[in-house]
């Protein structure tokens, strides 16, 4: 059975997101001067995490359903 491309996408962005969130929490506030005072690591990390989990969710749902056909 071939692998649904949403698994690696979801997995990759979930991990990226999680790392960024953790880094955003522990990092020194001073580095956010660059990004206009916004903790972009935290917020964008959360966005990536949500995106990754949604992708994974779709992939699992598709896997559980019967194999869909292409292009429909």
């Amino acid at each position: 059975m071939s692998l649904d491309v949403r698994f690696p996408i979801g997995g990759m962005f979930s991990i990226f997101g999680a790392i960024l969130v953790i880094y955003g929490v522990v990092s020194d506030r001073a580095i956010y001067q660059k990004s206009l005072g916004i903790n972009v690591n935290l917020w964008w990390g959360l966005a990536l995490l949500v995106f990754g989990l949604v992708m994974l969710g779709f992939a699992f749902r598709a896997q559980r359903a019967k194999p869909p056909t292409i292009g429909s």
């Binding site: 491309v5 996408i9 962005f13 972009v40 690591n41 964008w44 598709a62 869909p68």
Partner: protein
């Protein structure tokens, strides 16, 4: 962050399952692979560089160029490609015309892949130069070695799969950059105010950088130096249709689809995200030049005294993104450069080995022999790319160089395809000499004209006399493409009329429009028909053109 991205990519690549062969891909993923194939360094670095150099007029590459062309591919070209089961452009030309047309196209295509890969190599080396602080020469060597390893480790086994990943990596890696940049300059109105300074400094009306059509009445009123006719015909018609209809790196993605309908729908679905790409790739360039004007020297100045437009994206990344997100942005960039290079070198390898060497030089050798030739071709391709990368240093905008190459290769080829697909009378001799005429026309035009401020040489004018000076490199490219297209079209037409057909109607079935059974969409609900989607895309791109008029 970089390391993790790398490690993950490696693990993913090593998995043999990839969706090309699987049946479980929704159409939207095939569509994403279609545009990802073109979302390389050229797109990311080149479009941003053009956004800085030419302003929002760069969006014509999308809303005048790509949109109609992608719709045309989906509705009209895909039936022949998919129906003929050709796996490459040269192969289609062989089926439709003859062996010599295929050979000529294989040669120009091989040259094009070298330039494309050289441009990616240049971009990667520039990035290394900036991040690692190495010299440009050292960075080029590093890039060459990395690509060599990448390809010999079997880098492209699951190209399409990687491309979809990369699409998301680029979109999600750059979006925060654009949002932060826009917030910093005070939104669209703040950006327009900054761009007004850019425009007046360059001697144009204040809106020249923020209006896509308003200043197109005369070449002297806009930074691209084009008037509407040359733009619509040169970029919209010759270059864009040429690129999207004949570039098989892209078209192949659609042919991976499971049915004719899915294949036709792929470019149409791809057009939807493609339409929004300017926000992600052109806008950063405009931000960079706005900052450059208002803060005095945001972009470094190149040896030609102009800002180094190619560095717009890397400079912005370093300016706005803190440690952490910066890693994501750099990973996205490097991934796109590397796959851009590897994809082109691999394409060079296969075209050289199968379409040139095996067909014309040494046919009938063992598989092992061709495999060795292929390896040698890869090494040669990388060395030639190094040379191309050095010639790219002469261009402050890599899109200028890339479109120049396209104007030589895709411009004339599109005329051949158009005649070949829609006129059964087109002959093999007509196609071959027409293509040759088109390429020579391009060379003549390029050799006799110059962009303003350039010295004769790699930028044109090498034939001794300079008959015309264009206001910008891009203007020269558009006209070169248009001349090449016309040269090829007229020559193919005339020669075909005076030579005998070598292929019978029966042989041309499925390759020529009038000899191919019509595709019936009538049984589908109206909202699923490709035509509906096509009309929707054209309407929305028209609206976008009006908004940014």
């Amino acid at each position: 962050m970089l390391g993790i991205g790398w490690a993950l990519r490696r693990r993913i690549r090593s998995s043999e399952d990839f969706f090309l062969s699987g049946r479980s891909i929704p159409a939207w993923i095939a569509g994403l692979a279609f545009i990802s194939a073109n979302l390389g360094a050229q797109e990311v670095i080149g479009m941003a560089a053009s956004g800085a150099k030419y302003g929002i007029m760069t969006s014509h590459f999308y809303w005048v160029g790509a949109m109609p062309a992608m719709v045309f591919v989906g509705l009209f070209m895909m039936p022949f490609y998919y129906g003929s089961r050709a796996r490459s452009v040269p192969e289609y030309l062989k089926l439709r015309f003859d062996e010599k047309t295929r050979g000529l196209n294989a040669i120009t295509f091989a040259i094009m892949t070298i330039f494309s890969s050289g441009i990616s190599m240049y971009a990667l080396a520039k990035l290394f130069e900036l991040v690692l602080g190495w010299s440009f020469h050292g960075s080029i060597v590093l890039s060459a070695v990395i690509v060599l390893i990448y390809i010999f480790l079997g880098g492209l086994t699951s190209a399409i799969y990687n491309e979809v990943l990369q699409f998301f990596l680029i979109v999600l890696g750059f979006l925060p950059l654009v949002l932060l940049g826009l917030k910093d300059v005070g939104g669209w109105s703040g950006l327009t105010a900054k761009l007004a300074t850019v425009a007046t400094n360059a001697g144009f009306e204040p809106g020249a950088w923020s209006h896509s059509w308003k200043y197109m009445d005369s070449p002297s009123h806009n930074p691209m130096g084009m008037e509407w006719f040359g733009l619509v015909m040169g970029l919209g018609f010759a270059l864009s249709f040429g690129y999207w209809c004949t570039d098989f790196l892209v078209v192949q993605r659609a042919m991976a689809a499971g049915s004719m309908t899915a294949a036709r729908r792929t470019p149409l679905i791809a057009a939807v995200p493609k339409m929004l790409m300017p926000m992600l790739v052109i806008l950063p360039g405009m931000l960079a030049i706005g900052l450059h004007a208002s803060r005095g020297g945001f972009l470094p100045i190149g040896s030609d005294g102009q800002p180094e437009y190619n560095l717009a994206i890397p400079m912005l990344l370093g300016h706005y993104l803190p440690t952490g997100l910066l890693g994501l942005g750099l990973t996205a960039l490097m991934a796109s450069f590397m796959s851009g290079m590897a994809g082109n070198v691999t394409a060079f390898n296969s075209v050289w080995t199968y379409d040139i060497y095996q067909t014309h030089i040494r046919p009938g050798q063992t598989d092992g022999h061709y495999l060795r030739v292929g390896h040698a071709a890869t090494v040669f391709g990388i060395l030639a790319s190094v040379a191309a990368a050095y010639s790219a240093t002469r261009f402050n905008n890599i899109l200028d160089m890339l479109q120049l190459v396209f104007s030589f290769v895709n411009g004339p080829l599109f005329a051949t395809f158009l005649l070949g697909m829609f006129w059964r009378r087109t002959t093999g001799h007509g196609a071959f000499y027409g293509l040759l005429t088109g390429t020579i026309t391009a060379a003549l035009h390029y050799g006799l004209t110059l962009p303003r401020g350039a010295v004769p040489g790699i930028k044109g004018g090498f034939l001794g006399a300079v008959l015309h000076v264009y206001p910008s490199e891009m203007a020269l490219n558009f006209w070169t493409a248009l001349f090449a297209w016309t040269g090829c079209f007229v020559a193919t037409l005339l020669i075909s009329l005076f030579t005998k057909r070598t292929k019978t109607d029966e042989e041309l079935r499925g390759l020529v429009h009038s000899l191919t059974p019509r595709i019936q969409d009538g049984h589908m609900p109206w909202y699923k028909r490709p035509v509906t989607l096509a009309v929707g895309i054209l309407v929305v791109s028209t609206i976008l053109n009006i908004i940014f008029w």
